[in-house]
Amino acid sequence: VVSFFAVLGDLLKPKSFAGLRGAAPSVALATRSLTVLKDRKAYAQTEARSMIVGVIPFFFYALCVSRLLVRHKLPALAVTASSILIGMAAAFGLWCAALR
């Protein structure tokens, strides 16, 4: 599933449209059906709520990465790697504040 999304991103043009699939949580896509079949629905619901909370910091993360790359022309690896730690910390903080 992960490789399929990667191939799709390479094929599509323009790049801003190809980026739409970048937010698709391929990990969730791979494990979602298994979670629903194996565990309870309530478990999947809790997971879905956490995913929503996790997506909000990702939105700001992606905006921040986009601005740093387009405006300031910084290297992609450095920007994505350093910003992801901030995104993770923000997601965890938001989860503690909203869902814990």
Partner: protein, 205 residues
């Protein structure tokens, strides 16, 4: 802007680049599963929302676009392409929230068969937002004067570099101009005492 599919891109991607994405995605999947087992679905869900292939994709897009560029500023082109991909991902994340919201609200709506509907909702929301932003950008471009609208990013950069390169010329012109301007404004001259002249110089012959 026209959406197209470029099959030639498949040949440009090396096998190890797919392997890298596969390994990265697999590692994140395993990590998310282990975290969910250890700390429960609440914490596990945070990691499921993590777009596993995004950092790897951005790096590879930068590399490919840099190679594809015929101009000297290939690095800039690569970074801009990766930035546009990130902007698309930001739009996609809004679609993801829209698709997940019913699941988060009602446990009864969760169904394996309903997953197709969820991804359709994700895709439709994302594409609608993307089209509306493209429309807004198109309108912004149309409102610009033709010379500015037609200028590409690299052309704008070259223009900026040219202006910067011309700065010694501007400095010289400024110095040349200042040579013709009196060193003090007239008001300052008026406040100064008049230069003293000898008594004989005031007399008429």
């Amino acid at each position: 802007m026209k959406i197209s599919l470029d099959p030639s891109a498949l040949g440009k991607t090396k096998w190890y680049e797919y392997a890298l994405r596969f390994a990265f995605g697999g590692a994140i999947t395993v990590a998310a599963g282990l975290i969910a087992n250890k700390w429960g679905p609440g914490v596990g869900g945070l990691f499921l929302a993590f777009p596993a292939i995004f950092p790897a994709s951005a790096t590879l897009i930068e590399k490919h676009e840099k190679k594809n560029s015929n101009s000297l500023d290939g690095t800039v082109r690569g970074r801009e392409a990766a930035g546009l991909d990130a902007a698309g991902a930001a739009i996609g994340s809004i679609g993801l929230i829209a698709s997940l919201s019913p699941y988060g609200a009602y446990a009864s709506s969760i169904d394996v068969a309903g997953d197709d509907l969820r991804y359709a909702r994700l895709l439709i929301t994302s594409v609608v937002i993307w089209l509306s932003t493209e429309d807004a950008r198109g309108a912004q471009r149309a409102s610009l004067p033709p010379s500015r609208a037609s200028r590409t990013v690299s052309q704008r950069e070259r223009y900026a570099t040219m202006r910067f390169a011309d700065s010694p010329l501007c400095l010289r012109a400024l110095l040349n101009f200042s040579a013709h301007v009196p060193p003090f404004p007239p008001r300052v001259h008026a406040l100064r005492p008049a230069p003293s002249r000898g008594p004989s110089s005031n007399r008429l012959p």
